[in-house]
Symmetry: C2
Subunit: 342 residues, 2 copies
DNA sequence: GATTTAACCGAAAACGTTTTCGATTCATTA
DNA sequence: TAATGAATCGAAAACGTTTTCGGTTAAATC
């Protein structure tokens, strides 16, 4: 345990701890000569500041907290990637916690992060969460929060999202323009905003193109596994609606469940039923047929969210007013085999 | 910023900071009465200890550092899941850093973690890493390290791995027993231990079953994308060896690249060529045909690695001798369509 | 009644920084 | 020559805890 401290290099140089500290922090009342000597000794003694002492004194940790529903998920791991990169570039480290889609756990994780005194928190809400007092509590205590992906409009903080409603609208419009007449929607549970928005986009697109909205064409996927939800509901769909010719799924995984079932039943995609996903997972290029989907820029979302958070941290530190912003990142239709009829 | 401190609740109760602290830490020289009063006041004033002050005083951070090649990867996100769960259960938080398979970055990340004074470090080595001084340096400075998955035998620390050689041996033996005669191997780059071991397992299985080892049947996949490596090398394989009837791939992703190419060429799997993967990603149940593979218990690996690390931290703290252990987690053949001939 | 013992509490130091404020030196100016 | 100013440096307090060690009270023992 050869941790050299400020006092050690001060002793080695025969000067005071104050001078050493000041030399390192760029104070102007230190001569170039001593500064050079300090720098040299720091290098030879391999001095690294004790982060705990610095944190205690400066009252910041240079650490960000992240709470996501689950980490084993292509989209979220992409987001994390963006967060970690941006944070590291700006001198922050990242602590990651999972909510497992549970409200109580999400609440506990945020409390943990506050106790660790992270400088800011990034959250994608759990599906269960419909009470935001734990978030507001953190904000009130001066810990800036940025919401991403699964957000709540009611919370007063910055947000980074995609326009789920528009993306869904575009997807369904695409299907309509391709000539599909009877389009089903496999939706997610009722609380998450993006689940609601994608449904609304679906409905709006139908209405704008004079296709009557039929609630029996909407299937709810709110069990544990998106994949199995897709598979099971595809079975119901085929049984209940002989004449359906396309499905817009809330998730690639749901879509892949659908494809799986249709393949198993030897129902031709897209000749008999077309499938449209959402997220553009890697997997969707590998499945057969390749899945048409919406590209959701996970890395960018993470990166932007971290950037905004770090800026707000800086503003709070300088007692500047912080203006919350909501950033909407563009999505793209990725057209592949599952919707292209010859 | 209403952070209540020890001194605040001491003042509210008219007692000393010492007494409050002791009451909270279970010292026996505090009366039941005052302890109760302290506990109550702590609750009403919502006191949370300042982690930085505690860390400085106790010289520990209750934080673990993790360095992995990449986070956007099913196996590694599973491992992280296991690490985070175990850590949280034992009162630790986790800082995650990526090496992007670069030695220099890996080195930098470890230095960062040391500076943050994490209590221990978990690493899966980058493919580039063939010098381990940065790891040994951390160990020498009394920061325990546990290696997992991509390890180096030369480093003196605990390790959690699977028996790659045996798993590969089992896979190839399975193929041989199924009647496959000419089995190719798509291997990984030359430095990582598990790449080497899987290759050796492949070779040994052939030899033990009197099948001559043919180096031209071994294809190197060491580019950026496993998937594309698999696809490209499958093309070469089919061109160069008309009579190959099975491939053992180092990764599911490589295997899926192979499947993709064979599907594109309308080469029947497994009738013409069987494919065997490695890792049991979720994706392998979704591809068509479903992929036979080796199940690699990512979550368990992470959990065990974290558990060992935390135990070693405790032992070091109590000045007990720590005995490094290497844990080998069992793997399983998951038989699916890509190798089952009718 | 004097002494020991047990029960309970607090003063103070320590962890390693950062930062304020004052002190010292030396050259410069009136 | 005395006063001013610039250039350097250091003492000390502070951040919020934990822990050692000693002190005080009251009950128990001789």
């Amino acid at each position: 345990m050869n941790d050299t401290r400020l006092i050690d290099i001060a002793a080695a140089l025969g000067i005071s701890v104050t001078t050493v500290s000041k030399a390192l922090k760029g104070y102007t009342d230190i001569s170039d000569n001593t500064r050079a000597r300090v720098l040299e000794m720091v290098a030879t003694m391999n001095y690294k500041p004790n982060a705990n002492a610095v944190n205690l004194r400066t009252n910041e940790t240079k650490t960000l907290g992240v709470v996501i529903p689950t980490m084993v998920h292509h989209f979220f791991s992409s987001v994390l990637n963006g967060i970690i990169d941006e944070a590291e570039n700006r001198g922050y480290l990242v602590i990651i916690l999972q909510s497992n889609e549970k409200y109580e756990l999400e609440k506990k994780q945020i409390a943990l992060l506050q106790q660790k005194r992270v400088d800011g928190i990034l959250i994608s809400l759990s599906n269960e969460t419909d009470n935001f007092s734990h978030i507001n509590d953190a904000i009130k205590k001066n810990t800036p929060v940025v919401l991403f992906d699964k957000i709540a409009k009611l919370v007063d903080c910055s947000k980074v999202i995609i326009n789920d409603r528009k993306a869904a609208y575009d997807a369904v419009t695409y299907l309509i323009n391709k000539g599909y007449k009877k389009i089903a929607h496999f939706r997610g549970s009722y609380t998450p905003q993006n689940s609601i928005d994608r449904f609304l986009g679906y409905k709006k697109a139908l209405e704008d193109h004079n296709i009557p909205y039929d609630p029996t064409l909407v299937y709810l996927c709110d069990h544990n596994s998106d994949f199995e939800d897709g598979y099971a509901n595809a079975q119901k769909l085929v049984a209940e609606h002989k004449d359906v010719d396309a499905v817009f799924a809330i998730t690639d995984l749901v879509a892949i469940g659908i494809i799986k079932y249709l393949n198993d039943m030897h129902i031709k995609i897209p000749e008999q039923i077309a499938v449209f996903g959402f997220s553009n997972w890697f997997m969707s290029t590998v499945i057969s047929p390749k899945l048409t989907t919406i590209d959701q820029p996970g890395y960018d979302i993470g990166q932007r969210a971290a950037a905004i958070l770090i800026n707000e941290i800086a503003q709070i530190k300088e007692h500047l007013p912080v203006i919350h912003q909501t950033i909407e990142l563009p999505t793209l239709i990725i057209e592949r085999e599952s919707t292209i009829r010859n």
